[in-house]
């Protein structure tokens, strides 16, 4: 089973490396959205630092949602998904492999880039560290929850917009506690509780989301 899991992961990473432009587009989107905010609300350092955590988190939410379309759709079109569903191993495990690969190429780069954007918006020191850590815990949850939505909207007309309608409300807890962690530190409080809850969401979604996404794929291929 782990051989198959490793191959799913490896194949998706190879595909991402060979089709680099798609990965970079998500990243560029993230940077551009964050950069638009100072232009929209004005360059005052105080204002920017106040909204920074929310801005970075909302941009991460949107970027991760945009990249979700890629998760299953190309496999759906070329028939690789049929072979995945008919594989001799439990589908949730293989789907988890795909989600991890997806996070590595679309979520992790956002986390790595976030300190630069945080600095731009006037965050520093501890707040910056908490921002990175909250994204590190939160973005995998986005990929996991998003996979369920991506599975459900597979091959539907207007799938992209529909996906955002389904998935964004479910992202709210991650947004609240992710941005809340940074806010708490800025207000001089501990971010411990927020980060623990984000961790709990991560554990919960790792346990449930692959199973739900696998069912969604079976339904969509039926």
């Amino acid at each position: 089973m782990w051989v198959a899991f490793k191959w799913v992961l490896k194949r998706d990473l190879m595909l991402a490396v060979r089709g680099r432009s798609e990965v970079l587009t998500t990243l560029m989107f993230f940077i551009i959205v964050v950069s638009l905010f100072p232009l929209g609300v004005g360059p005052e350092r105080e204002t920017l630092a106040e909204i920074a955590s929310g801005v970075v988190w909302v941009a991460a939410l949107l970027a991760s949602m945009l990249s979700l379309g890629r998760l299953f759709s190309s496999d759906y079109e070329d028939g690789a998904l049929e072979q995945l569903v008919l594989a001799a191993h439990p589908l949730p495990v293989l789907v988890l492999g795909k989600i991890i690969a997806h996070w590595l190429v679309s979520g992790l780069p956002l986390v790595l880039l976030s300190p630069v954007l945080g600095l731009q918006l006037g965050l520093d020191g501890e707040t910056l560290a908490v921002l990175i850590f909250s994204l590190l815990l939160g973005t995998p949850v986005l990929s996991l929850i998003g996979a369920v939505g991506a599975g459900l909207t597979l091959g539907l007309r207007g799938g992209g917009v529909l996906l955002s309608l389904l998935v964004l409300p479910l992202y709210i807890p991650v947004l609240v506690f992710g941005a809340g962690a940074v806010e708490a530190v800025r207000a001089g409080l501990e971010a411990q509780a927020h980060l623990s809850l984000l961790g709990a969401f991560l554990v919960l979604s790792v346990m449930l989301a692959p199973w739900a996404a696998a069912s969604a794929l079976r339904i969509s291929l039926d």
Partner: protein, 202 residues
């Protein structure tokens, strides 16, 4: 021992279908376009749930066997299931891992050579022609170890040589005690094996 029974009552396409496939047998599903051939094959391999009825493999329902059944089935649909950015060898290795066995590069190269694909095994699949892609997909038949083959239009886009190779592969599979269910609109000849017809629709 290998028998497969299917009851299905689907008002849209077909109803009350009931048949068995035995070892060494080819079931040729025929019928006009839209008669439900592909749907039937997808039900047989477990992709689609029948409206009513069930498919049984060695007497057990495939809904209960789940992965155990999937291990025994080789399905080739209309779509090739190849990632176009990867080479044929990478594609086939990933496919084998998914279906529960490991393949050496040697075996894969041999199979590709038999499909007359020698020398293009390190190119990404996207530069290959339609027929070449289909042949890469069909190379699975030479590599797979599953007893039940479910093939949807396997002869489409193949040249005469490849059709011959495919027929040979099916014959060898039947001689080894395998089962084949296929759809095709093209004529094909088999030297061995017991061919039965299932006509749908019309």
């Amino acid at each position: 021992m290998n028998d497969l029974t299917c009851f299905r009552g689907d008002r849209r396409l077909f109803a009350g279908l009931d048949f068995t496939v035995e070892t060494g047998q080819v079931l040729h599903v025929s019928g006009p376009n839209g008669a439900g051939k592909t749907t039937l094959l997808r039900i047989l391999c477990g992709l689609t749930q029948p409206e009513s009825g069930e498919v049984r493999w060695r007497g057990q329902s495939i809904g209960e066997l789940k992965e155990e059944y999937a291990r025994e089935v080789l399905y080739l649909g209309h779509l090739n299931g190849l990632k176009v950015e990867l080479t044929p060898v990478e594609n086939l290795m990933a496919w084998a891992a998914l279906h529960g066995f490991e393949l050496g590069e040697e075996a894969i190269l041999d199979a590709l050579a038999a499909m007359a694909l020698k020398g293009i095994d390190d190119l990404p699949v996207k530069v290959l022609s339609q027929g070449q892609k289909r042949r890469v997909a069909l190379a699975r038949l030479l590599l797979g170890r599953q007893p039940l083959w479910i093939l949807d239009e396997p002869f489409v886009a193949l040249d005469r040589h490849a059709v011959g190779v495919l027929e040979g592969a099916i014959e060898a599979h039947l001689d080894g005690g395998g089962l084949v269910v296929l759809t095709t609109h093209q004529a094909f000849t088999l030297a061995t094996g017991h061919l039965c017809e299932l006509a749908l629709g019309g």
